[in-house]
C-alpha cells in the first residue's frame, strides 16, 4: 500500500486519490467471506470427526452405503466445470465479451448444474434406501455436510448465471467475474476434502 504515497507526490490535485488496490473490492470481499466459509466447513468436519471417532462402527450397521464410484465420476464433472470457468476468465481478460467467453461460462454453468442434479438424484435414492437425517448419526452428518456443500454450489451457480447474463449484455466487470470465480474455486476445492472424509470413511 506504500506505493500509494510517493515522497514528492504533486500536491496540486488533492481530490483524485490514486488507488491501485492489490485486489478489487469485490474480490477481496469474497475472499474474506471464503475465510469464514472455511471455518464453517472446518467446524462441520471436526464435529463429524469427533462423533465418528467415538461411534462403535462407522458407517453403522444396517445403514445403506454411499455411492462411492458414482460420486467420484460426478466429482470429475465438478472439477471440469472449475477448469472451464478458469478458461472462461482467461478468455474474458484477453478477449472481453467475446463469443468464446460466453460459451465457456455457459459450459461451466451446465457442468455445475449436472453435478448438483446427479447429487440430488443420489439423495433421492439414498432416502428411499432408508438413509435419513434421523436414521443415524451417519445419515445426519451426510445430509448436513454434503447438503451444505450443495447449497453453496447452488448459490454459486446462481452467481454464474448472473455472470452469464451480464456477459451476454456486455456489461460485465472483471472484478465481478473474479469474485464469482473465487467462490466457484472454493466450492470445487472443498469438494475433494468432503468426498474423502464422508464417502471414503
Amino acid at each position: 500500500m506504500d506505493t500509494m504515497k510517493t515522497i514528492d507526490a504533486s500536491f496540486a490535485e488533492p481530490e483524485q486519490p490514486e488507488r491501485s488496490p492489490v485486489l478489487s473490492s469485490s474480490a477481496m470481499g469474497i475472499l474474506i467471506f471464503i475465510v469464514t466459509e472455511l471455518m464453517f466447513f472446518a467446524s462441520l468436519i471436526s464435529a463429524y470427526l469427533i462423533i465418528s471417532a467415538v461411534a462403535e462402527a462407522w458407517p453403522p450397521e444396517g445403514q445403506p452405503r454411499l455411492p462411492v464410484l458414482a460420486s467420484a465420476l460426478n466429482s470429475l464433472v465438478l472439477f471440469a466445470s472449475g477448469f472451464v470457468l478458469f478458461r472462461g476468465y482467461r478468455s474474458f481478460i484477453s478477449e472481453g465479451h467475446s463469443e468464446r467467453s460466453i460459451k465457456l461460462v455457459r459450459l461451466c454453468l451446465w457442468l455445475g448444474t449436472v453435478f448438483v442434479a446427479v447429487q440430488g438424484f443420489e439423495w433421492v435414492r439414498l432416502l428411499s434406501y432408508g438413509l435419513t437425517m434421523t436414521s443415524s448419526q451417519y445419515g445426519a452428518f451426510f445430509y448436513l455436510i454434503i447438503g451444505t456443500h450443495a447449497i453453496h454450489a447452488i448459490g454459486a451457480l446462481i452467481g454464474i448465471w448472473c455472470l452469464l447474463s451480464k456477459l451476454r449484455s456486455g456489461v460485465l466487470k472483471q472484478s465481478s467475474f473474479q469474485a464469482v470465480l473465487f467462490f466457484w474455486y472454493f466450492v470445487v476445492g472443498i469438494w475433494p476434502v468432503l468426498y474423502v472424509l464422508v464417502y471414503l470413511s
Partner: protein, 572 residues
C-alpha cells in the same frame, strides 16, 4: 474509487433538486452515517429492554416472591427466560451493534477519508437483517411457552429438546434470531475490512490509520474467523430442535460437549470482538484530551494483533468443569494467563499517554478514564478464573458473573458513553450538555460498582448463578447475604435512574445543545475535517489528503497544540 466519488457527487446535486423522502433518508438509506445511527438507536432501544429485564430479575433476587413494580410476580420459567434474554440482548443486540456496527460504520469512512463504505447496499442489507433478527427475538417473548430460558450459552441437552426447556417456539426462534444477527455482522465485517484496505485517503499509510480503525478491523477479522463454528453449531442445534436429529444428544451417539466447543470457539474471540473497538474509542479520547501523542502506537498495534491470534487458543477455559482433560486444562490456563499480557500492554500504553499530558476532564474523557480503571478490575479477576484449579471452585458462581460484568459493562456501557459524548458533535452538529454529562457519569460509575462489588463477595461465598430464589437454600439464605443482594438491586435501580438523565440530555441536545464547529475538541483525525454533521459523501468536493500520523499533539515549534492529519506541511 475515484469514479465512485464523482457518481456520489452527482447524486448530491440530484438530491438538491428534490429532497429525499423520509423513507429513503432514514429507513432505506445507504449512507454509512445513517446506517450507523440506525444501529445505534436500535442498540439503545434494545439496551432499555435488557436493562428492564435485569431490573425485574434483580428485584426477584432481592425480594423473592414479592410483586415487582411495573411487572408483577415473576415465575421461575419467566425468570430463566429473562436471565437468558438479558445476556443475549446485551451481547448480541447492544454491544455488537453499538460498538462494532455503529462505531465502525460511522467512523471508518470518516476517519480514513473516503465518501462511503465500498459496498453501501450490502451495508444497508446488513442493518435490515439485523433489524429482522431483533424483531424475531422480541416476538419470541410472546409466543406460547415464552422466550427461550436455557441461558445465553444454550447448552444442550437443555436447549436441544422442547420437553426439557419447555419453550417449543422460544428456543428455535432464539436460535434463528442469533444466527441472523451473526449473518448481519458478517456482511458488515466484510465491508469494514475491504473499505479500510481499498479506500483510504491519499497518503494514508498503514501507520497513519487511527488506532480505533485498526482495532475495528482486527475485531472484524477475529469475528470472520471465529463465527463459522457458531453458525455450524446453531444449524446443528436447530436440526436437533426441529427435525429430531441427535448431534448433541448423548443417547443417540451425539456429544453435548461438542456444542460447548463450537459455541466457545466463537464465544471467546467474541469477547475481544467487542473489547477492541471499546479500547480503540478509549485510545482516541485519551489522546485527544491528554493533548499528547499516543504512547507506543506500533506496540499497541502489534499487541492487538497478538491478542487476536491468542484469543483463538483460550476457549476451553469456559469448560474446565465439563470433563476437559486436566492436561488440556493446564494448556488453556497458560494461554488464558498469557492473553492478559497484550491487554495489559495496551492499557499501560494508555496510562503512559496520560503521563505529562495536559489533561482535560470532559465527560468523554471521564468515561474513557473510568473504562481503563474498571476494565482493569475485570481483567484482574479473570486471572483467578483462568486458573483451572481456582475455577473449579468459582465456576458458575456470582464471582464469574461479577467478573464478566466488570469487563462487559466498561466495554458496552462506559466506552459507548465515552464515544457518544465524544462524537455527538460530529453526528448532530451540537454538543451534549457537559454538566448533566458529568452528573450522569458519576451516578453511573458509583452505582455500577455498587452493583457488582457485593456480587464478587457473594460469589466468593459460594452463591451459585441461575437460582430463582436463594431462600430455598439454607447456606445462601443468611441475612448478611440477603442484605448484599438488596444493596446490589438498589444500586441497579439507581444506575437505571441515572440513564434517564442521559436519554433526556441526548434528545434535548439534539435541538438545544451548544452549536459547535467542525473540530470542537481540536483533534487531528480526518472525521473532524468534515462539516458537523457530515453531509452525504462526507467531505464535499475536496477529499482530504493525509500528510502525517493521527496523534501529532503538542508538537514543538507549532502555535497550535494539534496538527490535523490533512494540514499541508509548510513550504519552508
Amino acid at each position: 474509487m475515484a469514479e465512485v466519488t464523482h457518481v456520489d457527487g452527482a447524486h448530491d446535486a440530484h438530491h438538491e433538486h428534490h429532497k429525499p423522502s423520509f423513507w429513503s433518508k432514514y429507513v432505506f438509506s445507504t449512507d454509512h452515517k445513517m446506517i450507523a445511527l440506525q444501529y445505534m438507536f436500535t442498540g439503545m432501544a434494545m439496551a432499555l429492554i435488557g436493562g428492564y429485564f435485569a431490573y425485574v430479575f434483580r428485584m426477584q433476587l432481592a425480594f423473592p416472591g414479592a410483586s415487582i413494580p411495573f411487572f408483577g410476580t415473576l415465575s421461575p420459567a419467566a425468570y430463566n427466560s429473562l436471565v437468558t434474554n438479558h445476556g443475549t440482548i446485551m451481547i448480541f443486540w447492544v454491544a455488537m451493534p453499538v460498538l462494532i456496527a455503529a462505531m465502525g460504520n460511522f467512523l471508518i469512512p470518516l476517519m480514513i477519508g473516503c465518501d462511503d463504505m465500498v459496498f453501501p447496499r450490502v451495508n444497508r442489507l446488513s442493518y435490515q437483517i439485523f433489524l429482522l433478527s431483533a424483531i424475531i427475538l422480541i416476538i419470541s417473548f410472546f409466543v406460547p411457552g415464552g422466550g427461550f430460558g436455557g441461558a445465553w450459552t444454550a447448552y444442550p441437552p437443555l436447549s436441544a429438546k422442547a420437553e426439557f426447556n419447555a419453550t417449543p417456539f422460544g428456543a428455535p426462534m432464539w436460535l434463528i434470531a442469533v444466527t441472523l444477527e451473526i449473518v448481519a455482522f458478517l456482511l458488515g465485517g466484510i465491508n469494514f475490512i475491504t473499505t479500510v484496505m481499498n479506500a483510504r485517503a491519499k497518503g494514508m499509510r498503514m501507520y497513519d490509520i487511527p488506532i480505533i480503525v485498526w482495532m475495528i478491523v482486527i475485531a472484524s477479522i477475529l469475528f470472520m474467523c471465529s463465527v463459522g463454528p457458531l453458525i455450524a453449531g446453531a444449524v446443528m442445534l436447530l436440526f436437533d430442535q426441529t427435525l429430531g436429529t441427535g448431534f448433541f444428544d448423548g443417547t443417540a451417539g451425539g456429544d453435548p460437549v461438542l456444542w460447548q466447543h463450537l459455541f466457545w470457539f466463537f464465544g471467546h474471540p467474541e469477547v475481544y470482538v467487542v473489547l477492541l473497538p471499546a479500547m480503540g474509542i478509549v485510545g482516541e479520547i485519551t489522546c485527544t484530551f491528554a493533548r499528547k501523542k499516543l504512547f507506543a502506537y506500533k506496540l499497541i498495534l502489534y499487541s492487538t494483533i497478538g491478542l487476536g491470534i491468542l484469543s483463538f487458543f483460550v476457549w476451553a477455559h469456559h469448560q474446565f468443569i465439563s470433563g476437559v482433560d486436566p492436561r488440556a486444562a493446564y494448556l488453556f490456563t497458560t494461554t488464558t494467563l498469557l492473553i492478559s499480557i497484550p491487554v495489559a500492554i495496551v492499557l499501560f500504553a494508555y496510562i503512559a499517554t496520560l503521563y505529562g499530558g495536559s489533561i482535560r476532564f470532559t465527560t468523554a474523557m471521564l468515561f474513557a478514564l473510568a473504562f481503563t480503571g474498571e476494565f482493569l478490575l475485570g481483567g484482574v479477576t479473570g486471572i483467578w478464573l483462568g486458573s483451572s484449579g481456582v475455577d473449579v471452585y468459582l465456576h458458575d458462581t456470582y464471582f464469574v458473573l461479577a467478573h464478566f460484568h466488570y469487563t462487559f459493562v466498561p466495554i458496552a456501557i462506559i466506552a459507548t458513553f465515552a464515544a457518544v459524548y465524544y462524537w455527538y458533535p460530529k453526528m448532530f452538529g451540537r454538543k451534549m450538555n457537559e454538566t448533566w454529562g458529568k452528573i450522569h457519569f458519576w451516578g453511573t460509575i458509583v452505582s455500577f460498582n455498587g452493583i457488582f462489588i457485593p456480587l464478587f463477595i457473594l460469589g466468593a461465598g459460594g452463591q451459585h448463578r441461575r437460582i430463582y430464589n436463594f431462600q430455598h437454600y439454607p447456606d445462601l439464605a443468611g441475612a448478611d447475604m440477603q442484605d448484599m443482594r438488596v444493596f446490589a438491586t438498589l444500586s441497579l435501580i439507581v444506575m437505571l435512574a441515572f440513564q434517564v438523565i442521559f436519554i433526556v440530555n441526548f434528545f434535548v441536545s439534539l435541538k438545544r445543545g451548544e452549536k459547535v464547529g467542525n473540530n470542537p475538541w481540536k483533534a487531528n483525525t480526518l472525521e473532524w475535517v468534515a462539516t458537523s454533521p457530515a453531509p452525504h459523501g462526507n467531505f464535499g468536493a475536496t477529499m482530504p489528503e493525509v500528510y502525517r500520523g493521527p496523534y501529532e499533539f503538542s508538537v514543538e515549534g507549532r502555535e497550535e497544540d494539534y496538527w490535523p492529519q490533512n494540514e499541508k506541511p509548510s513550504e519552508s
